[in-house]
Amino acid sequence: MEVRKFSIPEIIFGRGSLQYAGLCARRLGAEKVLLVSDRGLEEAGWVDRVVEILDHEKLHWIYYGDIISNPRDFQIDKGVGFYHRHKADVIIGLGGGSPMDAAKGIALVASNGGRIQDYEGANRIHQPLPPMIFIPSTAGSGSDISQFAIITDVERRVKMSIISRTLVPNISIIDPLLLQTKSRKLIVAAAIDALCHAIESYVSTIASPFTEIQSLKAMQLIMKNLKRATETRDLNSLEQLSAASTAAGMAFSNAGLGVEHAIAHSLGGIFDTLHGLVHPVLLPPVMRFNLPACAQKMAQVGEILLGKKRRGAQATALGGIEKLEEFCDTMGVQTRLRDIVNEHAKLPDMCRMAVNDACLLTNPRQATWEDLLQICEEAW
């Protein structure tokens, strides 16, 4: 095996771990915290809760909540201005992937200057970032663990991938209690995103024993707990989903993703599609596309999805994919691309853009834009 690397933030995990947010911030040298979140978290009361914790720690804070899903470049610029104007220091990101990616973008531009576009691509960051603490509320995006930030360039209609170990936050505080206020739909979307992270990172060309074990663990936990979590919202299941999402985050941050996320990013850039909705639609056809290149691994995935082996790797793998489609159906999520995208004509352009996505680098099978289009047609 070639040389690999595995790096993750400090992780504080468990029910009520949120209460340590203030302490962590203080330990990182905070005097005035920038808290980044969004409307949903405000409405659920979590923003107030974090503010309360900061107040209790006698920390000054400012709040930036002007974030929508698929965070935009101009929202970053605004946040940076806000950060500088108030001379904030530590940045806390609270929420799903969008507020956390936005927080990364703000931290990046606030310390390195220029525009967010300047850092598109890998390893372009040269100055340290302000200390970051992330509090995920969705058990899906993995942004609280990963070295990725995905920001939309409004003018080019592109989801830019910014990749750097420096984007890994200092501390990730994962509190399953936060999942309790989530809608059923959101729980499903996030869990399938995490499942997708686990599967894509597992078959990635740069997967390592340290990521593979996380990927497998994440798949098992999701298959075992998702149904129960959506039906009963039982805290144990939610906690397991949190652990799964975190494990999947550890895996994909270090092993990368694949074709599915390349297309998902492109869809988000062009159609502003919600990231969580894309996976039930794309994951099965992508798995079929990749199957020839990694049958053994796909079989292991299939075994977990199915809960048992079938005769032969190919059969187990295919069985797993079918099980996945069935599973998504029973979750009541949309499973056809046409349900979430309205312009079929734009698909070729979308695929031409997707082949440039960094996620494609670690896909087990080489893919041209025509291959991607084929996948989309299959999903249509």
Binding site: V3, G121, P128, R165, T166, A358, L361
Partner: protein, 398 residues
């Protein structure tokens, strides 16, 4: 176009989360360097400030001194002026001065200049004060830089220079005129004396009355010619550059001789108005005896005019500052109005009626004293009296 990320980029073995350790180290090194540079600059600036010979003080808006330069300590005894107010230190006053230039500079945010005269250690000093606002980044004055230059000497030199210049030009003119008049005057005098000698030789039968008239007229001509000659002689001192021989002169003896010379001309009670306060140990000076006698005479005559036989005149000699000998003529006369003081030594300045004063007495004195490398000046209060001081360098022992 940016290079596309590679798989190696994703693995990113050479890339780690950037920490602040190195940055902090670099910052500390940088700060140390700038700190050194700053303190070097500060020393440099302090050296510049200390080498400024004017007194310098930086004042807060409440007129408290925040720093001073070395020149301050050369002039003022106060070892630690910092924190004290400027009026306390400079004027021994517990309130700001009414015309405080620092306050004006604060108010107007402009450089303010002023000249003031006040005593330092009992002597009146002339100061030129510049108050310039030190502005903060918003352009508002936050401190005042006070520069005090002692211009006492400059002012004195300036005054003397102006006087010397005026004297020189008028003096040259006067001497020229005197020369021109001297020849016809000599001729008039000669012929008048010739006439006087010839009167006894006139025939016996000449009308007696006519004869007496002639005698009287010739006498008047001779007398007035004498007066003219005196004036002309006085004027000629303006141009007689170092022509006279200097010898050892005792000012005390000179005063005695001059008074003896006068005695015959003065009425008794006037003579009694003159007092003497002579320093018996007075060193000699080098000079022209007759010219110095002239100085004493001129000063005495002026004093007589000023006292109108009703006041006292004191002739005094003493040693001044070790190497200078002083002769003063003090009277309790009418005194001199302030606005006349600077014109006094000019040729032809007089306040006396025509026929009584010509206005060359003091200018003659001035010229003579100057040729003796000395100084002449006056202190006077109107209605109280005047004192003329003549200061000459004492004779140097070979």
């Amino acid at each position: 176009m940016k290079p596309k990320p590679t798989v190696e980029d994703l693995i990113g073995i050479e890339y780690a989360k950037l920490g602040f350790f190195r940055e902090v180290q670099e910052k500390i090194a940088e700060l140390n360097a700038t700190n050194l540079e700053l303190s070097r600059k500060q020393r440099h600036i302090q050296a510049i400030l200390d080498s400024i010979t004017d007194i310098m003080a930086v004042l807060s808006p409440r007129l408290r001194i925040s720093s001073v330069n070395r020149a301050f300590h050369d002039v003022y005894q106060e070892a630690h002026p910092e924190g004290k107010t400027c009026h306390e230190i400079f004027r021994h006053a517990d309130k700001p001065c009414s015309d405080c230039p620092a306050l004006k500079a604060f108010e107007t945010n402009q450089v303010f200049r002023e000249t003031v005269i006040y005593p330092v250690d009992g002597k009146n000093r002339h100061f030129e004060i510049t108050a310039s606002p030190l502005k903060n980044e918003r352009g508002q004055p936050c401190h005042i830089l006070l520069l005090k230059r002692d211009v006492t000497l400059e002012k004195e030199y300036q005054a003397k220079y102006h006087q010397a210049e005026r004297m020189a030009t008028v003096g040259v003119l006067a001497a020229g005129v005197a020369h021109e008049i001297n020849n016809p005057l000599t001729a008039i005098l000669g012929f008048a004396e010739g006439l006087k000698r010839r009167i006894p030789r006139l025939p016996e039968d000449t009308n007696r009355e006519l004869l007496e008239d002639f005698s009287e007229y010739v006498a008047i001509i001779l007398k007035e010619c004498g007066r003219c000659q005196e004036i002309v002689q006085g004027l000629l001192t303006f141009s007689r550059e170092g022509s006279s021989e200097f010898s050892r002169v005792s000012l005390n003896k000179l005063v005695g001789d001059t008074i003896k010379l006068l005695k015959n001309h003065l009425k008794h009670h006037v003579r009694d108005l003159i007092r003497f306060d002579l320093d018996s140990g007075l060193p000699c000076v080098r000079g022209d005896e007759s010219q110095l006698k002239q100085v004493i005479l001129n000063l005495l005559f002026n004093a007589f005019d000023a006292t109108q036989e009703k006041g006292f005149i004191t002739l005094r000699t003493f040693v001044n500052q070790g190497d200078r000998v002083c002769l003063s003529v003090e009277d309790t006369g009418c005194g001199i109005p302030a606005h006349h003081l600077n014109k006094l030594f000019e040729p032809f300045f007089t306040t006396k009626p025509v026929g009584k004063g010509v206005g060359i007495g003091l200018s003659t004195c001035y010229n003579i004293v100057r040729k003796h490398h000395g100084e002449i000046f006056v202190c006077s209060h109107e209605g109280v009296g005047s004192t003329f001081h003549v200061i000459l360098p004492r004779e140097k022992h070979p």
